[in-house]
Symmetry: C2
Subunit: 462 residues, 2 copies
């Protein structure tokens, strides 16, 4: 790069330009995401029923399919100012290394201690819990990013925080627990004997390494059986995508400021929070017919909800005590192979993204983990950021698209979400370096175990 | 904070405002730092002699006491653009938590994968090595920040990188090695049997946990005995303080932009690179009589070079094969207690800072590690950044000064350097949480071991 570049390496909005509203993409959807169902009655959950699990204000946000712009409370905006606006980075060095005519941008959400975008929703959920006068919140965490984010938000607001951490991550990431403890959280490996559902799962699957669905069951049980507690969730829910829309709104503001328009938008997809947040305002334009973007969800081949799941009502948790969501799912009984190193281990997918995918507004592809780590290392060496394995799914797809441009000579503009950093994922990087990392693609029989768990009732089309 | 604040939470310079020159504070010093001495002849090292160890351009910078502004090569500025400008943060949340009228700012250097300011000099040293057509570089690393930074710079420039890592850190920070490997570096715990000096130290002190001085000896030996290699060092040297002046120059630009003038400037001090870099342009004004600032170096009580060392010529390494520097030193034979968790383990101190301290231009204080971690945790919870133990020495002193302001009611402006993040220091945080962390203040007898190693020759005043 000479000194004559027009677009800076990093585009930072001024704090005064920071968004004041979240973007609710549901307002632009003709086919709204299906409502959550009560697991007992199989009828749509009422606000009152949801209020037993979630804070009242979050219930409102969960059910609001119509308000496009929802104001971000001043206190949350002040918290955002501690680590936002996040930079939109032009990947000049990666472009050069690939020799591609494509222009690559990434929105980097890793510059905060939780190491990921999860903090955007953690502070919002903790804020509404505090405002409602609650004592504390419970949650699950997989790779640990969400738990860390929630711990930070709770420390800031002086709320109690109980985290159920998927056992395999708890063991692979010993230091994540210490970060959460630094922020005063109580961390329990899941499944555990501290809950009824945990004891049941342990009895049925004594050797289990845990799953997000199972940890969710435990956290929900603790929330509903303890006075003054509510459950909070780091992904999947409509409210979470709403909070995460700060990513997309900032990105769009920054791009508009420099007259940049992405042709392709790429995000990794586990429960869908980052991808949903990143694409929200862009998808809004697409749904209103004002612009067109190719939007690609990238998921692990070992947990392929979009590409090999079914679109059906399913439980969000293994214990089947949570509401049902209509989503692309591998079945709530599906537990990814323990050899899978990154996050993105959820059996289902955001109802919003599921509906959009079903309606043809976005694509999905599955990638294997060794190629993901190869892309991660290549990216780290030239861009100077050590990416989280989750984020690296998006890197892999972005590199593939950029290499296609190299073949065709097209100067496409590629935007992807770099959700976080991999400082706590070095066990996985070590496996990759030592050649002990393997790929795993579930067989159709493996998937059947999960699909068997999908409830057969009239609400499901299959 | 209301929405009417005048100073943003984070002041980012535009990339177009980024400094084009490093600031060489030696140009403003009446008493220049004493020259390095040849360990054989005890005469000042010539450029030719230094050229056997360091790259030619770096030798020039090491010996240049007169040029105030030295241009940053375009290629290095492009690399800086990947992670700079670094934010100058107004610690509104910490101020509020302390209830102090003081205004607290910190320059945050942790937003890059090396996790610290070390990258600022790593890329410069790697760049000049590459320019000279070398094959690779060797170095030592203590806490691992410097080794990581150098690995990143070498990966970017396609240079070979051999790192000798202090054994106690190698064992306490298993994942640091993986980050360096991700960037293609070869990492060896020191002392090792791969060098003559390492074998000698192991024979004399079989149970040693290593020290920076010892790792330096090994890295230098490898550099001078291998064709096409040079040694690079992450702190102490004049050239390193020069590169790190980017911290201070950016900080001063950002402060000037908003009309802020610090009363007190605080930095942690191990070898002195971060503190020296942060204060350079401010110290320049002070030396020229244009402004006055209180400048405070903060060091660990377990390795108290400034506060309990002597100002004398000493070896920079344990093996006594490196040039001698005139500095505050505990003696090159001094090895900090293994219970010391953070970095800042070097027995000596930058010759520039030593001279400035000797001449009364700055203060120094020593702090104990449990109080440092208490400050770190307090800071993490309100400011949302998990600080490195090293950086937390400065946090501790900044909090103390802010609390003094609370007592006196003075609205002082306090600036400190937050050099990096603590993601790889969770073993130490765990000790702190579990109550197993202890403090250690060396007795006078402990120190005598080191002082015994200080060469007795006419160049030394004692």
């Amino acid at each position: 790069m000479g000194s004559d570049y027009k677009i800076p390496y990093k585009i930072y909005l001024e704090e005064s330009e920071m968004p004041t509203h979240w973007y609710n993409v549901r307002a632009d959807m003709k086919n709204k995401p299906a409502p959550l169902l009560n697991p007992g009655t199989l009828q749509p959950m009422t606000a009152q029923e949801l209020g037993g699990v979630f804070c009242d204000e979050l219930v409102k946000q969960e059910m609001d399919d119509d308000t496009r712009l929802i104001e971000i409370p001043e206190e949350i905006r002040n918290f955002y100012r501690m680590y936002r606006p996040a930079p939109l980075v032009r990947a000049y060095c990666l472009e050069k290394a690939l020799g591609t005519p494509a222009k690559i941008y990434y929105k980097f959400e890793g510059n905060n201690t939780s190491g990921s975008h999860k903090l955007n929703s953690a502070i919002a959920q903790a804020y509404y819990a505090k405002k409602q006068g609650l004592k504390g919140v419970t949650t699950e965490t997989g790779a640990g990013q969400w738990g860390t984010a929630l711990s930070m938000a709770c420390a800031y607001l002086d709320l109690d925080c109980k985290v159920y951490m998927v056992k395999v991550s708890y063991e692979q990431k010993p230091f994540r627990r210490e970060v959460m403890r630094t922020y005063g959280a109580e961390v329990t490996p899941s499944p555990s004997d501290t809950t009824e559902v945990g004891r049941k799962i342990l009895a049925e699957h004594p050797g289990t390494t845990g799953s997000l669905g199972c940890a969710i069951s435990e956290a929900v049980e603790v929330a509903v059986t303890n006075e003054g507690y509510r459950y909070v969730l780091g992904s999947v829910l409509n409210q979470v995508l709403l909070h995460q829309s700060i990513i997309g709104v900032e990105t769009k503001l920054a791009m508009d400021k420099y007259g940049i328009r992405p042709d392709i938008i790429i995000g990794c997809a586990g429960g869908g929070s980052n991808l949903g947040g990143l694409i929200s305002p862009f998808m809004g334009e697409k749904l209103r017919g004002e612009a067109d973007y190719r939007i690609i969800a990238v998921e692990p081949a070992s947990c392929p909800s979009f590409t090999r799941g079914v679109f059906a009502y399913d439980f969000c948790d293994t214990g089947m005590i949570c509401p049902l969501a209509k989503m692309y799912t591998l079945g709530s009984g599906f537990i990814p192979s323990p050899n899978h190193a990154g996050g993105l281990r959820f059996h289902g997918m955001s109802a919003i993204l599921s509906q959009l995918y079903h309606d043809g507004y976005m694509e999905a592809r599955a990638v294997e983990q060794t190629e993901v780590f190869r892309a991660a290392e290549q990216f780290a060496r030239v861009e100077g950021v050590l990416p989280a394995p989750e984020s690296s799914h998006a890197i892999k797809a972005a590199i593939d698209e950029a290499l296609k441009c190299k073949e065709t000579g097209e100067e496409k503009t590629i935007l992807f979400g770099l959700t976080g950093t991999g400082y706590f994922d070095m066990v996985a990087y070590e496996q990759f370096h030592n050649g002990t990392m393997t790929d795993y693609i579930p067989t159709d029989e493996d998937l059947q175990v999960g699909f068997d768990g999908i409830p057969k009732f009239p609400g499901n089309l299959q």
